[in-house]
Amino acid sequence: MVHALKKSLVTLKSILTGMKVTMRHLFQPSVTIRYPDVRDELPETARSKLYVNIDDCIGCKLCERACPVNCISIETVQATSDVDLGKTSTGNPKRFWVTNFEIDMAKCMYCDLCVPPCPTDCITMVPEYEYSEFDRNNLLFQFSELSPDKVEEVKEKLEKEQEEKQRQKEEAARKKEAEKNKSEDSPAETKSTEE
């Protein structure tokens, strides 16, 4: 009985302490932000939607390789020597057509691993977080803006150039071979005479 009374008193005291705490909170201002009406400013380093400044992308595929869940897929075509793709804003020369640059935000886990390797700082996280969709395909973000015709064109061009190069190479190789043969003949003779 005495035990029960003692325990009851302790319980009562701790309940009252708890009630005091909750009572204090009852009159504290709420921390809720009334979301659709009021939006919180996201911190600068917040990780949310990815954005690629495609004009600065040199098609190095470093981000694709860095991504642990393979949600970036990049296709590039080397530019032929007759076109100058210009330079990025950081001064790197561009050598590839980026024919396809896709980020599947449905898979992305916001790890931020793709951002630091980029040599031109063109892939970044932007503070934009409301992009829920009914169709998952709408979460595939396309960045490259080359039209299919253009892609075909550059591909063909590259093929032609490569063929050309190949031919030139082969020709050069043949020439070298011929020269070699020629020069091989004469020194052999001199060698033999010396002996």
Binding site: M1, A4, I15, T22, L26, Q28, P29, S30, T32
Partner: protein, 344 residues
């Protein structure tokens, strides 16, 4: 009150119906308000805002919108449920708490029925609550519901004992079972010269009786920390798992009605019912009603406040509290009150 109504309204039948429906109106308005208030209290204790959108000021129309939504919901009855009992249970539950309102003296001019065994009637009719919860649980043909129902039965039957013991302690002092008489004897401001004559101030042991009473009414209206019958986390809403739409809504309504009923009983027994705390000042039938509801609502508020403070008890702890602490303490307390009454 009935006489006045009969004077105003020509047909005695309609007068009687209005007289009968008055507590229903009160309970419905109260339930709408209390559910909203509960959400607000919950939100503010957790530093949130709670409903803010529906209706203008602080989302006051939220519960009305919820009710309309519940009314439109599909009424699902499980295939192998015992249909009649399943449908009957929520209404029986509500009827039980509603019937109990008839002996509550709302103000000096309004009491449904001033019977001489008021308290006993109230305690007896509220035991129908256990029955209907068990009925709903059994009729659902669902193991979890039945488990929840059994727990409810165990809890309510156990906590009936300390409730009745503490009510009895009051009755020993009051000397009447009629709640109107109990209220009337608490009129005036003479205790220690300034305190109102409420029973809780009259006797130190009655304070203990009140604490016991309050703990057990929290358990009887199955609120946190004793909300084992519902226990969302482990029994998935317990006995009301299979109920949907307005049937579930009526369970909810009954729970809130029950809360109000027991709080009002508490305020009659310990806080002077409709008596004004300032003696003659602000007294009278209308003010009486105001004071009475205010006292009831304060107790309801304390229940809500406790809900966000205390964690839920385990079922064995629940029984331990009841049989190990409350019952022995209430018995001893009862004897002490009786002795006090004999001596003074």
């Amino acid at each position: 009150m009935l006489n006045t109504l009969e004077n105003i309204i020509p047909s005695p039948v309609i007068a009687l119906l209005i007289f009968v429906a008055l507590p229903l109106v009160l309970v419905s308005i109260y339930a709408l308000f209390a559910i909203w208030m509960e959400r607000k209290v919950a939100a503010h204790i957790q530093d949130r805002l709670g409903p803010m959108r529906v209706g203008g000021w602080h989302g006051w129309a939220q519960t009305i919108a919820d009710m309309l939504k519940l009314l439109q919901k599909e009424d699902i009855i499980p295939t192998n449920a015992s249909r009649f009992l399943f449908k009957l249970a929520p209404f029986l539950l509500f009827a039980a708490s509603y019937a109990a309102f008839s002996v509550i003296p709302f103000s000096s001019a309004y009491i449904g029925s001033s019977v001489d065994i008021g308290v006993f009637y109230l305690l007896a009719i509220t035991s129908l609550l256990t029955l209907s919860v068990l009925m709903g649980a059994w009729a659902s043909n669902n193991k979890w519901s039945l488990l929840g129902g059994m727990r409810t039965a165990a809890q309510m039957v156990s906590y009936e004992v300390p409730t009745i013991m503490s009510v009895l302690s009051v009755l020993v002092v009051a000397g009447s079972l009629n709640l109107m008489t109990v209220t009337e004897m608490q009129t005036g401001n003479t205790t220690l010269g300034f305190l109102p004559d409420w029973l809780i101030f009259q006797n130190p042991f009655l304070l203990i009786a009140f604490v016991i009473f309050f703990i057990s009414i929290v358990a009887e209206s199955h609120r946190v920390p004793f909300d084992l019958p519902e226990s969302e986390s482990e029994l998935v809403a317990g006995f009301q798992t299979e109920y949907s739409g307005m049937r579930w809504g009526i369970f909810m309504l009954a729970e809130y009605a029950d809360m109000l009923l027991l709080s009002l009983l508490g305020s009659v027994l310990f806080f002077g019912g409709w008596n004004s705390p300032f003696g003659e000042f602000m007294a009278g039938p209308i003010w009486g009603f105001f004071w009475f509801i205010l006292k009831g609502m304060v107790l309801v508020f304390v229940m809500m406040w406790m809900r966000w403070t205390l964690p839920r008890y385990r079922v064995d702890q629940l029984m331990q509290i009841c049989w190990g602490f409350l019952i022995p303490i209430s018995f001893v307390n009862f004897v002490l009150i009786a002795l006090w009454e004999m001596i003074f």
